[in-house]
């Protein structure tokens, strides 16, 4: 029995290797997935859709590769596979690729990389370097947060909450933008006072503590909470579901499928930015060597208006606001503006920072 098993295992191993070796078709556009798969309704899917759209419009061969596990080595192996498969461009969605790309940019100087939501750096953060063949893309999270904050107050909410994950720059930008958006909308609709509870949970997990905090805010009258940090949002959703008539704002991607209580989401335009960057490559203008920040002027941020459940915030409102944002008429603080959210100098919005 044991012998049979080991023979089978060996056979599987050999066949598995053979399958890789036999694949001599080449794929020009490649995507290496982050944790999760290609239909994760999050980063991978957004980036993949952008890639597929360009590939199909221009009839270019494309393929995705899934790392075996969530380690730098496994990511590098998958990148290696993609390169072996003839990739000219490798798209890597997610900040977990920062370190693998830092290494891969030297290993494969002839291959171009698009790194979404991160900049290549060494494992110990001691060295940041972006070679000519890497195009890192960051997002103006403060604009996405701004849209969400504006929408919430415009729709009539006066008691808001912000619950971020770790206080990393991206999360801080979301939060400050959220505060500013609420402030501007409050001035516009003439609200007397808007309160905003502001908190970082310190992690990206769904914890009972986060759920309890969100529940206590809702119980205290808070109407809508921006759950900004991975699974922290799930805790907020759980709390919102338990309370009546309470809402959640999702983050990064359209999270309305995860809970009925999600009325809108502060999204990053993954699909558009991947599409644009690939198009730039084929136009001979690959933006390698320097980080590109995507914002409203190039569809880098958005609210998913097709799943919007905020009554009182209409498509027209959104379009008008977005046009102003894209034209650069609105200045939004980013993570370097102030140390804490209550030091942003808002007049109508009263920010209470909760440690």
């Amino acid at each position: 029995m044991k012998k049979l098993l080991s023979v089978l295992l060996a056979l599987a191993l050999v066949l598995g290797m053979g399958a890789v070796a036999l694949a001599d078709d080449t794929f020009e556009l490649a995507l290496v997935t982050d944790i999760g798969t290609i239909d994760d309704k999050s980063f991978n899917q957004g980036a993949w859709e952008g890639l597929v759209q360009y590939a199909e419009e221009n009839n270019i061969s494309h393929k995705y590769y899934q790392p075996t596990e969530k380690t730098t080595d496994a990511y590098l192996d998958a990148i290696d596979q993609a390169v072996e498969g003839g990739a000219k461009i490798v798209v890597t969605p997610g900040f977990l690729f920062e370190e693998p790309i830092f290494m891969a940019q030297d290993m494969y100087p002839e291959v171009n990389f698009i790194l979404i939501d991160g900049e290549p750096h060494s494992g110990d953060y001691s060295e940041y370097r972006t070679n000519e063949n890497v195009a890192p893309i960051l997002y103006a999270e403060q604009q996405a947060g701004y849209l969400a904050g504006y929408a919430a107050v415009k729709a009539g909410c006066t008691k808001l909450g912000f619950m971020g994950g770790m206080a990393v720059p991206a999360v801080i930008r979301y939060g400050y933008g959220f505060v500013q958006g609420a402030e501007d909308a409050a001035k516009e609709v003439g609200a007397a006072e808007v309160t905003l509870n502001y908190h970082y949970t310190g992690g990206f997990d769904a914890t009972p503590e986060a759920q309890a905090l969100a529940a206590s805010w809702y119980n205290d009258g808070v109407e809508i909470i921006f759950g900004c940090g991975g699974a922290v949002g799930n805790s907020v959703m759980a709390a919102a579901e338990a309370a009546e008539g309470k809402y959640v704002i999702g983050v990064d991607v359209d999270q309305s499928i995860e809970s009925e209580t999600v009325v809108t989401s502060a999204m990053k335009g993954l699909k558009a930015s991947v599409y644009q960057t690939i198009a730039a490559y084929y136009a001979g203008e690959f933006p390698g060597g320097a980080t590109t920040v995507k914002d409203a002027s190039n569809d880098g941020v958005a609210l998913p208006m097709e799943s919007n459940k905020l009554e009182g915030f209409t498509q027209e409102d959104y379009d008008a606001l977005y046009a102003k944002l894209a034209a650069g008429e609105i200045t939004i603080p980013d993570n370097t503006t102030a140390d804490t959210a209550d030091a942003l100098g808002t007049e109508i919005v009263k920010v209470t920072v909760v440690d």
């Binding site: 994760d40 914890t207 009972p208 119980n219 205290d220 699974a231 759980a238 338990a242 209470t352």
Partner: protein
């Protein structure tokens, strides 16, 4: 008043899983087997039952589904705990090590299985929470008590309290309970009067497995919308509750409520009208449960009543 109701309802979400799991640990330890695998068993129980809910929620919902999930959680926890029982009882392994092994393997298995079994390959298992009871008809109209216990609740709350009653009865009023306690205090003596120590210890560990598995489900359902292969250290916290409660059912109830209340205040004081205006840094609230635990343990440790043979493998041949 509504704040107090809120605080109490929220506290139950923390306390009931702690209570159930700590009672599970009690059965194991009083039979003489240390069970630090509670955390791992919680993860397995939560994984199996949440996965079950995920698969079945299209065809059924509400409390019928929850009851079935409870059975799945208890059964899977029991099966998983058999590994610990076999190592600790038959193989006479170091119980701390076999428990640690279970704690380490459980999240790994849960992640691996979730990614293999789910079509989208992600490790989070989503579920729709259709189990909340907004208010229990009639009972919720009882003044005070109705607001405390019969609004915004889950059947698991009542199940937890029922388990407490049954556990206390079983431990002190039945023949099985007497034998269980005997095996935890002096297994040789129990054996000399014809009690099968191995069987009793198996029963103890399996009950603890069933309760810990159930505790995993009870813990995850109200606090998230998906299961991400973790119970955030509540298995270990339940061990603290067990020791705090001195291996006695009623004291465990008190300990679980105390821990739950402190946890709730630490997490949610910013939404509580009275507390949020006080100039106390949040760190203090976060420390309170642990400081209180240290103090109470320091005072009770001298007459700590841990089962004497707990953690000692039983060897029929030894004197």
């Amino acid at each position: 008043m509504s704040t107090i109701y809120f605080l109490f309802q929220q506290m139950l979400l923390f306390s009931i899983p702690l209570l159930i799991v700590a009672l599970g640990g009690m059965f194991s330890e009083r039979s003489g087997v240390v069970n630090i695998a509670l955390e791992g068993i919680m993860v397995m129980g939560a994984f199996c039952s949440i996965f079950f809910i995920n698969r079945m929620q299209d065809i059924m919902s509400g409390n019928l589904l929850l009851i079935l999930a409870i059975l799945v959680a208890a059964a899977s926890g029991m099966v998983f705990s058999l590994l610990h029982a076999y190592a600790a009882i038959n193989m006479r392994a170091d119980q701390t090590i076999s428990g640690t092994a279970l704690n380490m393997i459980a999240p790994a298995v849960a992640i691996y299985m979730a990614r293999t079994l789910q079509a989208n390959g992600v490790q989070q298992i989503n579920f729709n929470n259709t189990f909340r009871i907004r208010e229990v008809p009639l009972l919720s109209r009882i003044p005070v008590l109705g607001d405390l216990l019969f609004k915004n609740t889950y059947i698991t709350t009542y199940l937890g309290l029922a388990i407490l009653a049954v556990a206390a009865f079983m431990l002190y009023k039945t023949r099985f309970g007497l034998r269980l306690r005997a095996c935890g205090e002096h297994p040789q003596a129990a054996d000399s009067v014809g009690v099968n120590v191995y069987k009793i210890r198996y029963a103890g560990v399996m009950i603890s497995g069933a309760l810990a598995g159930l505790g995993g489900l009870v813990f995850v359902v109200p606090t998230s919308t998906n299961f991400n292969a973790t119970v955030a250290g509540y298995g270990f916290l339940a061990l603290a509750v067990l020791i705090f409660g001195q291996w006695k059912p009623l004291r465990i109830l008190f300990a679980a409520f105390f821990f739950g209340l402190m946890k709730t205040i630490a997490a949610s004081y910013s939404g509580l009208p009275l507390l949020k205006d006080m100039p106390i840094p949040s760190d203090i609230y976060k420390m309170v449960p642990y400081i209180a635990t240290l103090i109470v343990l320091a005072f009770t440790s001298r007459k700590s009543q841990a089962p004497r043979a707990s953690g000692v493998p039983y060897d029929k041949g030894s004197r």
